[in-house]
Symmetry: C5
Subunit: 355 residues, 5 copies
């Protein structure tokens, strides 16, 4: 399966709006969790069916309906019916390969983006799609599997800590997006640390095996990050324009702050991309440099011995008449010649700075 595109065979040729889950089934049973709160009240429950959530939705309270698991078309269809979400949008939420985007209809604002996770075992990033459906008094979140990602936010709501209980569903949306984007930055930092580590290794005389493979791997992961983070920049630009008014003006500053973080994330990604390109080039250069060094040794070695061996060969010949062999000091002269040749080569090589 191509990593940068999901398997799309199930979807192609289907009627638009067909609710087909494009992705891996990550959960057995769909799980629904409801948090209903205002400054004074707080209810937490896990209803079996979506219908059970409806009575909670009131004007002056915030209802956060979290749905884990996308594989049950019945639940998704129900969701569409209850909250009047068009089939095309439901389809987008089910297609876990959906490009991150924000859609504003007359009734709802839907944000689709990715939770990213760094798997330390395989050293690979994986993405989970999350959809946020926002109206004045409720926020519905759809995830592929049950996770502890948003537990700190749940805790803050439960313990009535901070602004969350005083503010509306738009602020809750912000809080979730902030958690997601904070996590992007953590992952970039993790990857950045790894990238800066390979940097050090490139300049050691003996590069560890598989270094180039590691650099390429980092490039692939940075590409994966870029693919998932860059569209979030567009999402935030849209949210900040806020033409549809789903976000209260007084809360706009939170989204602007979020925008700063996303800008920082995309710029860091760009810098790491450039650094990885440089690392590749330098790795290249270092290989050449080392080969160069070894060749120099070979040249010097061969060049020293080749003429000496030739001279020895001459005096190993069996000619009847080879006068030098019968000189009294022939063998001594032989060594003198050798030393002269050796010194001559030494001076020549030194001059050329070959060693």
């Amino acid at each position: 399966m191509a990593r940068f595109l999901n398997d799309r065979k199930a979807a192609s040729g289907q009627m638009p709006g067909s609710l087909i889950h494009l992705g891996t089934k990550k959960l057995e049973k769909v799980r629904i969790r409801l948090l209903n709160y205002s400054i004074d009240d707080f209810v937490e429950t896990e209803p079996d069916e979506l219908d059970d959530c409806m009575p909670y939705i009131e004007k002056d309270k915030v209802s956060w309906i979290n749905i884990d698991g996308l594989h049950d078309a019945g639940v998704i269809q129900k969701l569409g019916d209850l909250f009047e979400i068009h089939g095309l949008l439901l389809e987008d939420m089910l297609n876990t390969d959906q490009r991150p985007k924000v859609t504003e209809t007359e009734k709802l604002m839907i944000v689709i983006l990715k939770l990213l996770e760094y798997d330390e075992k395989t050293d690979r990033l994986s993405s989970e799609q999350i959809s946020l459906i926002l109206d004045d008094s409720y926020l519905i979140t759809l995830q592929e599997k049950v996770g502890d990602y948003f537990d700190p936010i749940r805790d803050r709501i439960r313990k009535s800590k901070g602004r969350l209980r005083r503010k509306g569903a738009d602020y809750l949306t912000y809080a979730l997006l902030d958690t997601i984007v904070d996590n992007y930055l953590l992952i970039i930092e993790t990857l950045g640390n790894m990238i800066e580590k390979t940097e050090a290794q490139i300049f050691t005389p003996n590069q560890p095996k598989g270094l180039m493979q590691k650099i390429y791997k980092h490039k692939t992961e940075i590409n994966f990050l870029r693919k998932n983070v860059r569209p979030v920049k567009e999402i935030l630009h849209r949210l900040i324009e806020n033409e549809s008014g789903f976000i209260a003006d007084e809360n706009m500053k939170y989204f602007q702050d979020l925008n700063d973080l996303v800008m920082q994330a995309t710029e860091s990604i760009e810098i790491y991309q450039m650094m990885l390109n440089d690392q590749m080039n330098i790795y290249h250069a270092n290989l050449d440099s080392k080969a160069n060094e070894i060749m120099k040794v070979l040249t010097v070695f061969s060049a020293f011995f080749i003429p000496l061996t030739f001279v020895a060969g001459v005096y190993g010949m069996n000619f009847d008449n080879l006068p030098e062999l019968h000189f009294k000091y022939g063998y001594l002269y032989f060594w003198i010649i050798l030393i002269v040749i050796t010194l001559g080569l030494l001076i020549y090589f030194r001059k050329r700075k070959w060693f």
Copy 2:
């Protein structure tokens, strides 16, 4: 014939609007198929002549006229006359090298784009041009050859399944474009799988022959894809602006969904382009790395034996007076010298980490 441009000699120097089919003749006889439907009625027929289609065109019904085969200038001229299409536009439809585009006249909207096909035998992409002529109550499609590309849509119309029968010609246009774009994504996925496969091969110690050729091939195919898909992005931006009103407002969301897919397609193409560039660089680096390794062995081998062979040569000389030859343990001393040299070199090479 240059792949990225058709043979244009037939067209140059001709009068503008000359109906010359630029491309390969892919079909013997032009085939006309008509589907005429509303919620309640359905007619399917294969008229011999275009004139036979005219009576079917009514305000409250949708007529889909599909023409397979572009080589018969008479049929195309007839088409222009019956539906008041300007010669220049007819010419565009005949020129199978036409850049994908949308044209809106007062009467009609014409979309020209490419069906892409991946030929598993030659491992090459080929393109077929399709033109869509849209008015309120009819859609005319022009293809180079008869294909089963749109059979699922024909089936859905016949079986009265889904929205197709309830909606107008604009929705039918969407359904066809959706099929085409879905196919783009399938092809990108296929190519992506191949690209990710070569990636694995690059890091094996012995790269299969022709790997570089394969990577280059992938680059060419990705370029071909990009050439054909990128203008579709522009087309969709134009359709979504919808200044001329050929698309009903209530159907605009379908085209927006299509836009998402095209965005995803172009971004995936960009990522694969970057990956292929990296693959090329790494292939390069690996070649260097291997040559380096082999050279190290050569150096070590030569360096070990060159001085030993020299020493043996010395004692193979025939000097009358070569005292060492007559030592009692001369031969033993010889081996001791060899071992000392060998160990010295071993330590030297080890220190430099050459093996």
Copy 3:
């Protein structure tokens, strides 16, 4: 002379609007050709002087005045006087290095661009500058030399074939531009064929001499093309905006069609640029790959014989006391040792997959 800039010494330091012909003199005598036509009438003549053209210019007829040769400042000055063209614009037309552009004054529209020609002998592109001066009832074209470039159009006018006789000077302008742009595409196709031919050669085991030189040559020609074609894109955008109304609304579609062709031309140029860059990289890689292969052979060869030669050297020594020499099967043992060493090396090299 720098190819991408004309020799400008003659022009610098001169008064603006000085009529100095910057370029090579390509013709002996200026030649003036006049075609004057309406639906019903047709006159063709070759007047000696520009003044002789003036009586022909009438409201309901189209006059096409074609001037071949730019070296006669008197004729150009006359042209400026008769048709009220500012000296700066005359200067632009004479400077054959003028960047392609369109200028709209209150009275006239002037388009300057290049005719491109591919010289099969030198395998180089050359450019000839053409200027088109358009008013309601006449079109003046200025060329560097006499050519048969526009003969098909002259023929169509003479034979009253097609739209040319029914339409105005704006349509004639279109027809000429269309001929020029069609020729761009033919040249891109020619170059494209050559580029795709070198592609095949890059992957043959023994690249023909001068292949890199050929690729570089193609890059230079593509750059030359790009330099001359890209500004034409800007020209067409300006023409299509048509703020000054020199083009009749009903003829605008012809210019839009032309725009398609220019877009196609610039995109093809971009693709070929990318392909040439890849070809360079691959040529590089192939050289490395071949050197690698040869080095492997050298290593294997040397490595096999170096120890064998050493052993032979040992038993060629003349020690008084070298016991192996006197063994009964000494020579046999020698060969056994050789075979053992050979097999050992064979296995080692096989394992490392060096051959």
Copy 4:
């Protein structure tokens, strides 16, 4: 710790607006310095608490409150309370990894950017974050540590030299920004000098060890510069638009001058980036060139001696019947053969211009 991103673990999962200092604690105790002045009056004091500054703030005087040290959340919270700064903005000022930016609220304008410092010991750039909070009659500056950066400005205020005493808090803001940007240019100049120094070294025959490492280091520092300087360009564009009116129109020209400097800074960074890329490529090329030279010597040496050694080996053979050995002038002939071979090779190599 990834250099291009701070350690963010402390911040993630926290409530928005939590005042957590993200960065290294660079100071023991927070230090507050106040300068209060008009044309005629001047007061300088170091209050222990922020409250002590409040009485000084008047309409017709400028108060510059400088706070050194970000680690005391109490002081920062107090700052927020006294001057009505939102928690999110306080958080930005504490996060020393904040992307440079300008924020305009109804009451205040806040500019966050970086002081850059070049450490000559480690040859690395470091950044210190500075925040400027501007209202009509006061400017608050927040720094990570006590520094002498702005001492010249303090001196100019004290000595009533120049415009500072006549103008408002906006001009003071300009003066500080000008100092910061001037310093950017000084650092670029320092780096530029180092970059142009390595350039000279690249072309010496024996490149000093670690040259590639140095070039890479320069690239990293240039990236660091670019990361910190480029957003300042955006800040200045915003300040020059001056929609909120925090800057008096008559002082706008100072900010436009500042803009020139920032433009110059970003363009110089771009040029140095290009130069470093070229240096890398050339370093590569020079390595290849040197290896090439050494190989030529090896080839010539080997090629000379290999056939000579072979001939000597032939006449060292012990065949019973080897006639040449018994020729009267055999040994002389041997040397003649050697000289002929040597001359032959010399001519061959000369022709190929190998030495």
Copy 5:
């Protein structure tokens, strides 16, 4: 001193608007030259002080005040006082590293740009800053040193040749800018010729020493050109918009013509940048190709002689029992074996196309 930035230490920490000359002092004494003219009148004088120029400035005459030398702060201060130029702008004119720009105040328009000069001795470009201060009836030009750059224009004014005497100060501004830009093109042409000359050398079998250094040098000069020419493009766009009306509408066409030249200059620079990148890559490829060729010879040579030398070594051994030595035709057989091996290797190498 970093070439792409002046030494800025003198300026940093100074009060804004301090008149410090940043650059090299190129002249001993400031020289003032005044030309005052209308169609009928003409006065030329060299006053000692700027005050002496003031009486000449009248509504219906053009005064061109040319000041050579920037080092005398007194003169510059006087200039500012007499013509009401703000200190910041004076500072820009003194800072010879000022990015080319145009500033329009209520009273004046100031254009700052560079005169470029190509020094044939050092083969380097140098820049001199020129500032043009334009009002309705006067033009002040500031240069670093006295030059003959504008002598042709002075001559044209003196001799009442051409438009200069009929037109206003705006046309004089144009004439000067035209001279400057024409010179840019001449320099690009000179550099272009040098670049196209190295191109030829790259493909010769033996590249002259220092070729890579030359290519790098060209890159640096092209970067220098680009740095100084590109902002002029922005300047001309601003002049053509002409919002402030310092240029008469009837003279606008001259500035549009100038714009053409600047466009041509920047495009040529871009093309030469691409060509230089290609040259670098090809130089690389050629080095590899040559090393490849030499290695092939080494391989073939070694491979031929290594087995032959081994065989000779075998029959030089001193085994008591080495039967072949005593064969009658042993020596003949030896040569037959050698020839067989040689032919075998020849066929093998031929097949692999190694020579």
